[in-house]
Symmetry: C2
Subunit: 124 residues, 2 copies
């Protein structure tokens, strides 16, 4: 039986920043939810475009060689494959990510921030 | 140069219900925005899963052989490929759709509601 998921309720289950959870699968794409706080690592994704939709707070996505993306709640931006970027949140923010299921959070820059086996919330 | 898009601003440019616009492309997926009002047609998508995220108002997605999905603002649901469904909005609501770029709004049920050449908003 299909059922709806409330975004705020799902975010309430996330404790740790920079730790996306999988909130749904659409063909070979994942809907992920994540809290960001502080500075992430510079990275890019060789194959995957990545959509960031901010639902709470404010997110800056720094980009190499062009102005940073400044996202408030209700704003989204797409970072194309190959574009080096670094998310920075001065305070905790909540972000919906839409990206191919193959996407690793730190892209081509593995580190202690790399998350592989993401938690899934039960959406069905 | 990449730039952010504000969801509310983008919705303000939509006049007609049941007429999705393309607000962004993520690999072979489209982020679409649509206003729904009234009853749509029963249909299914042979290949494509479809995510509905309600940002304003209330949406009911009727399903064959199982209870309808009742979505308020902040709720999302995924209708898998092959599942016959009918969106119904008692009053105008605003919906973010995420689905493969190949998805046609009326799926396997072409009608006067079918929209092929969707408007794109400039997100870059």
């Amino acid at each position: 039986v299909l059922k709806p998921t409330n975004i705020d309720t799902a975010f309430a289950n996330i404790d740790q920043p920079w730790t996306p959870i999988i909130a749904g699968q659409i063909n070979d794409f994942h809907l992920k939810l994540a809290k960001f706080e502080g500075e992430f690592v510079w990275h890019s994704h060789a194959q995957e475009d990545e959509l960031f939709l901010v639902t709470k707070g404010r997110l800056r996505i720094e980009l190499r060689d062009q102005p940073a993306l400044e996202l408030d709640a209700g704003d989204f931006a797409i970072v194309p494959a190959g574009v080096e970027h670094r998310p920075v949140a001065e305070a905790e923010c909540e972000v919906i990510l839409l990206e191919p299921a193959s996407t690793v959070n730190t892209g081509g820059t593995p580190s202690e921030l790399t998350k592989i086996d993401l938690e899934r919330i039960d959406t069905q």
